[in-house]
Symmetry: C2
Subunit: 355 residues, 2 copies
DNA sequence: CCTAAAGATGTAATCGATTACAAAGTCGAT
DNA sequence: ATCGACTTTGTAATCGATTACATCTTTAGG
């Protein structure tokens, strides 16, 4: 029961270093921040004192005075989704290069948690914000905007306002997914959505519809299952699929987790992939290469996306924003693997006899 | 090219609120921090001024004065590993309940990055540390310790020093894994390790050896492959496995990723699971339930682990640490699924004729 | 009604850095 | 040696809150 045993290490202030070096605190501060503003002899004197005392500046004090924290907030919908972990790496790489740190705001798919991070912003603890929440600007997002800080929207092209968007080409990729399936002869499709109301989901569904139109297919030629970017969504979609008389032969899931849940569930019920049904995922997570058969999917340039987002935010924070940098839309790559194949003769025959 | 358009929102200071309410800044501060220290009439007066002005305290200033940031640092080896995302949720739940925020230090399996977070600690930006780096106390860890802050070691029972350990029963679970395989008749085992030098890996290997001893098996009865808690480790272990004349029949991988990499690779080469080889993983990640066949593994109580770690740290920060709370070791749960089965007659026969 | 104790509020010091401004030092040209 | 221009350093204000201490009010007890 030892109270207050912590923080017993003596705190060294800039004044201590100044005394040790025989100069003023201003000089110490300058040595550390603008080394070429002081005579090199003084510089060495001070650096020696810094070393001997083991001084590290108190950045809370510095932040107060400079009114900057060199920290940015990254709001993530769900850290358990490996997609975000990858994007974070990209952001981190870009920001630390410029001396910025990042604090991660994990919403855990739970809207109310946004409030917590609004506080972080309003209380001046961060210099900028990277928003990956896919919802339309809600209360939380709006409040953050009101703080007047630089914001970059990632994973969600917010049309309104002057917030730059750094995103992937969701719409184009979805369209390409339909094209991929259609070119293999699939005419009846299944669509496993993301959370309704999510901006990304909107983009992907729009692309899906565009793809249908390209292929000369219409609204009556597909089934839509509602999902939430998780395994379970694919499982329940599959359960419904199994009960259908007139099953789709090509499935497009807007995330790999759902695709894998679907894949696993239909196979457990005797459906062959890709002979009976083809599946295309979205994201290109590592695990998609370890399913059986390996999942056909679109790989997001996650690391690059993170870097791009960080880069734009840095520019904004430096006030060096140029219009041509405002919006970035990175392309995805089709990984054509083993869950997609041509419509089999069997399926064609059965469907014909039904007609 | 608009410089300095940001941070244009007028900053409201506590002095503004004080003026608006006709009281002193001290009173405003007290209303916000110790509401029952002021007369209720004054309280209302001030709160009204706060609301009208939209005031939010500048927490940088507060942190400087109070010498606390209400923030803790969580050092994670690799955010891309979903295991850590889950633990983080537990930590977050526990800490935010007490008003603490957390900053995540992602090492990305890269030791040098530790330095970055040492700075964070030394510059007084956090009040406590949760260490999940599995290495033995190295430079970084030591430096953090020197700052005199409360530290809790998770995922790594650091024997030296007075740092509490909040961990899972790695050793016992590994031992149980061997027992599980041995009870199915497996006598020749394969072990896919974590990174050598990692504390957790040490525990798990020790448990593995204990399990061998329990089963009356010795050092000559197993093959050890070096891994790094990633898919690829399982793949290369499998590639080696396939070249062996005298193959193990039971594999224990110290993480699910490796187990899955192994599973996928041997099956792609015609090896049947569990008929030809049984596989046990470790962690219980969600994916492990989506492989084919589903992976037998040990589930870590990740959320509980996170909560426990946060709880101990909170106690330390409050100076309310009692010895009996210092070390926590949570049990794992065997999820006996489909990658493990009895040694098949075929394998037994073949091995006999070899003898 | 008076006094002491308790309660509420205000004044000003404080946390530890950065930086505007002033002062002192350096140097070369005259 | 003197002047000005430039470089280097020091002094003290500042960032925006919290809080020790002083002061003023209220309450309770006699």
């Amino acid at each position: 029961m030892s109270r207050k045993r912590w923080r017993t290490v003596k705190e060294i202030r800039i004044a201590d270093v100044a005394r040790l070096a025989g100069v003023s605190t201003a000089t110490v501060s300058r040595v550390l921040a603008n080394p070429d503003m002081v005579r090199s002899k003084t510089h060495d004197l001070v650096m020696d004192a810094v070393r001997r005392s083991g001084y590290t500046p108190n950045s809370v004090a510095r932040n107060l005075r400079t009114r900057r924290t060199m920290t940015v907030l990254v709001v993530v919908p769900n850290l358990a989704n490996p997609v975000f972990a990858q994007i974070l790496r990209g952001i981190d790489d870009e920001l630390t290069q410029s001396g910025y740190g990042l604090v991660i705001g994990n919403l855990d798919n739970c809207t109310e948690r946004e409030a917590r991070y609004v506080d972080l912003v309003r209380s001046r603890q961060v210099d900028g914000i990277l928003l990956m929440t896919g919802r339309l600007p809600g209360d939380g997002t709006r409040h953050m905007g009101e703080a007047g800080l630089p914001i970059v929207a990632m994973c969600a092209a917010i049309p309104d306002g002057r917030i730059p968007n750094v995103v992937v080409q969701d719409r184009e990729a979805s369209r390409a997914a339909v094209h991929h399936l259609a070119s293999l002869g699939h005419k009846r499709l299944g669509y496993i959505s993301g959370p309704l109301g999510n901006v990304i989901e909107g983009e992907r569904f729009a692309g899906f519809l565009e793809g249908l139109a390209d292929a000369g297919l219409g609204q009556q030629d597909f089934v839509r299952w509602e999902g939430r970017f998780i395994f379970a969504a694919g499982v329940s979609a599959a359960e419904n699929f199994l009960r259908l008389k007139n099953r789709p032969t090509g499935i497009f899931a807007t995330c790999d987790e759902s695709a894998i849940g679907f894949l696993k569930t239909v196979r457990a019920n005797g459906v062959r992939v890709p002979e009976d049904v083809s599946i295309v995922g979205f994201d290109g997570i590592e695990f998609a290469d370890y399913t059986e058969p390996t999942l056909t999917t679109f790989r997001q340039p996650l690391h690059e996306l993170g870097r791009a987002g960080g880069h734009v935010l840095l520019n904004m924070m430096r006030g060096e924003m140029r219009p041509e940098d405002w919006n970035v839309r990175l392309p995805l790559t089709l990984l054509a693997r083993d869950t997609t194949g041509p419509v089999s003769a069997g399926v064609r025959r059965r469907r014909m006899s039904e007609a």
